[in-house]
Homo-oligomer: 205 residues x 2
């Protein structure tokens, strides 16, 4: 045989090529040949590592969400040192906004997959549809802890507030994506809303 090649690594490379080209031209416009060209391999190789296009797309989605999850937890870790729960939540939510090219691509493709999931039961069964629930649980926990520490405005329901925050963040992300809104104004909207959930910090002591 030829030198044994790392299949997992190769599949990752191809999946990243898929994400790149789909980010540029749209998921609907990407074919096997485009992915092959972007990855610098032959069409046959894409077929070899992913037998069918559906499997390629599925793996591409896994890769996309995996990469984004890493990015998100990295930012959370970085922001989780000093500051309070508000900074943590804010870091989480602004990371989810399409500010740079990477997060733009993520939002774009994630939304594309979501749309496909409406009519494709295989995609609908994919965990990426369940993952936001995990994020919602995480935010709810943070809010609950903050509430126990007396950091929230009175009368806030942690779970409802968490769901609202994530939904707003997602909606703002789409607005940015289609050019309706700048990342700065979206951040301002988010910040304003956080002021209505968190007790305003008195910086003057």
């Amino acid at each position: 045989m030829p030198r044994r090649v790392d299949h997992a690594e190769r599949r990752t490379e191809i999946a990243e090529a898929l994400v790149r080209v789909a980010g540029r031209r749209g998921l609907h416009a990407v074919g096997m040949r485009d992915v092959a060209a972007e990855a610098g391999v032959s069409l046959r190789l894409v077929q070899y590592y992913f037998e069918t296009k559906e499997k390629l797309l599925l793996f591409g989605l896994e890769h996309l969400t995996g990469k984004f999850g890493e990015r998100l937890s990295a930012r959370m870790r970085a922001a989780g040192d000093a500051p309070g729960p508000r900074a943590t939540v804010e870091a989480l939510l602004t990371t989810a906004l399409p500010t740079d090219e990477e997060s733009r691509t993520f939002h774009h493709l994630y939304t594309s997959y979501a749309v496909l999931a409406v009519t494709d039961r295989t995609l609908a069964a994919q965990p990426f549809i369940r993952n936001p629930d995990a994020a919602e649980g995480a935010v709810t926990d943070i809010l609950r802890q903050a509430q126990a520490a007396g950091l929230l405005q009175p009368g806030v329901d942690a779970q409802l507030a968490a769901a609202g925050l994530l939904a707003m963040s997602a909606g703002l992300g789409t607005s940015i994506l289609v050019g309706q809104r700048t990342p700065e104004s979206a951040a301002a909207v988010l910040d304003d809303h956080l002021n209505r959930v968190f007790r305003t910090v008195d910086t003057d002591g």
Copy 2:
């Protein structure tokens, strides 16, 4: 010639067929032949009334947003009789949620078009991308009036609050669409948020 036929009406019929079939199978999966079959006409006719597929899609988008705008203003008018600004805003936002089949289709296709608009400059230039700004202006106005009447919580910025409300509503809509959330829980989240914007009505006097 044969009997002169109402072009506008015919185009509307075909556009509605497009919306129906795209709502069922997804916008990405719909072809000219599918639209023709759904409308009960020949492929040639679809070509005749819309020379190209792009024009058909564009007109379909116009029709979609037009119909939804009518539905929305109808609900606003119905809800605009007795109650205060909160009821008006709530009616506007819950109308935007994909609760019944019609609004589900609207959300589904609207999001599909939005995704396409990311990579298609013709679609990106379409007014449907600007319309939300109009909605935002309307909500902002209502909130400003409510604020002048002392109906809002203190410290609320009308414009930021309006943007946040619409973004949240859109995000919740997507959640419902992909089955992450029930319409009821989405409405609860929205209601909770409105309680943080509007002064709570004292029903007991």
